[in-house]
């Protein structure tokens, strides 16, 4: 630099003179070096007092060396930006004076004659004498304002990117089948924005971002060689260090079935197109991940084009979508009709089976009130259902009737569950509608079967009662023929035969009343029906030594299907008789009562108690089920089922309690029947069925 020391040179007040000694010359050179350095340099004593400051530093704030010489460094103009900065300096000087090299970033006055601050990379270097004692401290400061600004900019960009990532992640998280298209669009837009952002960034910023981004950023050559991959990418593919991937073929990382697609994709990108692709990656450690990549062509310095790709792991999203798709497929292909509605009773979804069952296409009923499929007389059910749903309750197997599009009615069993949003708030209801028309048909057949079986059992009872007098008459006729000449004897035989025939007539009058006119309700006396039955079973009761106690309230009349009520009572009485093969007691009570439900309707309560063997606890729950029997040789298993059916059909309720203890055993059936029984058909009034079921389970008193 200074090539000719003989020439007179003046640099910032330092004059190199021809007559300078070697010593002086070197000192002056040092001075010039110091003064012309671009960074701020100074020399302090061990206490931080200013000895030397270079010219650049003085010029930056427009002061002279004499202004600061001999003063503590922290009192100088540069350091008066803030108390905090000043304190840091003082602390740093203290540490440096103890022999520590201190380095920090500080904001000081240092530009435009002291009007503006700069950021410096400040350092204090202790200078020690031969004995190791700190005697001087050199102070240095390099202006890093620009660099800081860069860094801030990069940080800002990084934050923006993170925001974008969060945004795309957010959309991935709320991915919903219906919104898939929109989500995809938003995502692509976000990705495009990301791309635009990236392109805007300068190379080193890009590098910084590339290294810190949580996604895999890689550059792949046209032949599939991985040229670069960031650390997130390396982690994703399971590489412990870059060389495990860089320079290797990218295809080794692609699932075999996706390799051809990826090859084609790479060809397209390296041909200058942009694009995205979903593929399965199999990492170096064998982990399969579903990836989504967005790639753009990147021109290398040699003019060749490589693929620059940002790839992310969408396995979790994929799984969620897959689960949702699977669920949707299940719902769609379910044999049961599945539909949902909002809290206003508007249909919001409708599967294939629902279309088939009701005849409404999904697009014609979605958005319509659910009332469309509810028969007019059951419209009052809907607010009841909705209010239960709003309380978050579930409705299980509610048997009712619904309307098809063509006006036909269909017997259905509904299971309705509340649908809650993420906050647990009920927003609608999902219902499974099962067509139980077939079940109903089977039930009706069973009911007929049981009627016939009951008739058969009745016929057997009647046969015995009739066969006895007939046997007597047969014998008397035989004797009359034999003794035909003896008028007196014959008269006596005929007298006896006549009495026996009266017995037959009485029995037929009693029993044939059973099946007389069962189609419409009539008013009849409950006690009378029970008495008729007890008369019919008198022999059986007598044979078994069963004592019958009757406790009847005064004449109670109900309006009901007399034949059916007789059948119900008859089933209970014969069950009691069967439960007491070795004798016992039976108490039959008839009293005025009121419904136990809200209606409080007046009615009659019939209690039948026996001291029989009782019902085993494990049988209690299936007692009223069809085909449940403990008497396999003689029972159809339909008796109690039909009994409950009859009682409920009349708006009544039946309870049972039973004990099987060695000392106390027996069964009580308690029946309530309203005075004015409903005679609605089977089915519609199934809420009572549910209540009687629970009553049975709660009313069990087994020992």
């Amino acid at each position: 630099m200074i090539t000719n020391p003989s020439k007179l040179i003046n640099v910032r007040g330092t004059e190199l003179l021809a007559g300078d000694t070697r010593e002086q010359y070197r000192q002056k050179l040092a001075r010039i070096t110091l003064d012309s350095m671009a960074q701020f340099v100074g020399l302090l004593d061990a206490n931080g007092t200013v000895l030397e400051i270079n010219q650049v530093a003085l010029d930056a704030v427009g002061i002279k060396l004499s202004d600061v010489e001999g003063k503590p460094f922290w009192t100088t103009f540069w350091w008066q930006v803030s108390e905090e900065i000043n304190a840091t300096l003082r602390d740093s000087i203290r540490r440096a004076s103890q022999g520590e090299f201190v380095r920090w970033d500080a904001e000081i006055y240092g530009r435009a004659g002291g009007k503006e601050t700069v950021i410096i990379d400040a350092s204090l270097m202790p200078v020690k004498d031969e004995r190791g004692k700190v005697v001087f401290i050199t102070a240095e400061g390099r202006d890093i304002t620009e660099k800081k600004a860069h860094e801030r900019e990069i940080a800002r960009q990084r934050e923006e990117l993170a925001e974008l990532d969060k945004l795309t992640q957010f959309f991935a998280n709320i991915s919903h089948l219906r919104r898939e298209a929109t989500e995809r669009e938003v995502q692509l837009r976000a990705e495009a924005e990301l791309e635009r952002q990236r392109l805007q960034l300068s190379e080193d910023r890009l590098r910084a971002i590339v290294e810190t981004t949580p996604e895999c950023v890689k550059i792949v050559a046209a032949d599939g060689t991985v040229l670069h991959m960031n650390s997130a990418g390396l982690a994703m593919v399971g590489a412990d260090y870059a060389e495990m991937v860089i320079g290797k073929s990218v295809y080794d990382l692609i699932a075999p079935e996706d390799r051809d697609r990826f090859r084609e994709f790479n060809r397209r990108i390296c041909g200058g197109e942009k694009g995205s692709l979903e593929f399965d990656m199999i990492g170096l450690k064998g982990v399969r991940r579903c990836m989504e990549t967005h790639a753009a062509p990147l021109q290398n310095s040699d003019g060749s084009i490589a693929q620059l790709a940002v790839t992310r792991d969408i396995s979790p999203r994929q799984e969620a979508e897959e689960a949702q798709r699977r669920l949707a497929a299940i719902v769609e292909s379910s044999d049961d009709a599945i539909a949902s509605k909002d809290l206003n009773g508007v249909v919001t979804s409708w599967n294939k089976s629902a279309e088939k069952l009701f005849g409404y296409k999904a697009d014609e009923i979605i958005g319509q009130p659910v009332m469309l499929i509810i028969p007019p007389e059951l419209h009052q059910d809907e607010p009841m259902i909705l209010s239960k749903i709003k309380r978050g309750e579930r409705i299980d197997h509610f048997e009712t009737v619904r309307l098809k599009k063509n006006g036909e009615r269909v017997d259905v069993s509904l299971t309705i569950s509340p649908v809650k949003d993420v906050h647990g708030k009920v927003v609608g209801a999902a219902k499974i509608i099962r067509n139980i028309t077939e079940n109903k048909k089977v039930e009706r057949t069973l009911r007929t079967t049981e009627k016939l079986a009951a008739a058969g059992r009745l016929a057997a009872t009647v046969a015995h009662e009739i066969n006895n007098p007939l046997a007597a008459v047969t014998n008397l006729v035989y004797l009359s023929r034999r003794d035909v000449g003896d008028a007196k004897k014959v008269a006596a035989y005929l007298e006896l035969a006549g009495r026996e025939l009266d017995r037959v007539a009485h029995i037929t009058r009693q029993t044939l009343g059973f099946y007389r006119d069962t189609s419409s309700p009539v008013r009849f006396n409950v006690a009378q029906v029970l008495d008729d039955l007890l008369l019919l079973y008198a022999t059986r009761l007598e044979v078994r030594k069963i004592k019958v106690v009757k406790q009847y309230d005064e004449d109670i009349q109900i309006r009901a299907l007399a034949g059916e009520i007789r059948q119900a009572f008859s089933n209970l009485i014969t069950n009691s008789i069967d439960a007491m093969p070795t004798g016992g007691s039976m108490i039959i009570r008839v009293s005025k009562s009121h419904a136990w439900t809200n209606s409080g309707a007046p009615g009659v309560r019939i209690t039948m108690l026996d001291t029989g063997s009782g019902i085993a606890p494990q049988h209690m729950s299936s007692l009223f089920q069809p085909f449940f029997t403990t008497k396999e040789d003689i029972g159809t298993g339909l008796g109690l089922w039909i009994t409950r059916n009859i009682i409920e059909k009349h708006g009544g309720v039946i309870y049972v309690k039973s004990r099987t203890g060695p000392a106390q055993h027996g069964t009580v059936f308690s029946i309530f029947l309203p005075l004015e029984g409903k005679d609605n058909g089977p089915g519609p009034n199934r809420m009572t069925a549910a209540s009687s079921k629970s009553a049975i389970s709660s009313g069990v008193a087994n020992e």
Binding site: A460, A463, H464, I466, N467, N468, L470, A471, A472, V473, T474, N475, L476, Y478, L479, R482, L496, E500, T539, E542, V543, K545, D633, I634
Partner: protein, 117 residues
């Protein structure tokens, strides 16, 4: 030929005895199983004609008890009830077999049965 007729309905037992006596048989009427066994021990009948369903001891148990001490005694059961078949199945399972006639019995058929040894 000595015959015991058992039926809880006296009119049936009495008329049957009347018919059998008219045909020259030595017949006696009782109304329950217990007295049937007592009479059987006393008169050692050739045949017992009994109803199945009776209060107290039924016809089958009565017949079984009599067969114990009179193994060659003819037993004819008669019943008007379908439930009898269940009782008979039980008896068969125990290794006995009885003839059962449905009520009402035609007296001529009963007389025929009693003729065949």
């Amino acid at each position: 030929m000595k015959i015991i007729v058992v039926d809880d309905e006296p009119i049936i037992a009495d008329t049957l005895v009347n018919i059998l006596t008219g045909e020259g048989r030595d017949a006696v009427a009782v109304s329950n199983g217990k007295s049937a066994i007592q009479w059987a021990e006393m008169i050692r009948p050739d045949a017992v004609v009994t109803d199945v369903i009776m209060p107290g001891m039924d016809g089958i148990d009565t017949a079984k008890a009599i067969m114990k001490f009179l193994p060659n005694c003819r037993i004819i059961l008669f019943s008007g009830q379908a439930a009898t078949s269940g009782l008979l199945a039980k008896v068969r399972a125990e290794g006995c077999s009885f003839e059962v006639l449905a009520k009402p019995i035609n007296p001529d058929i009963l007389l025929e049965k009693l003729k065949i040894q």
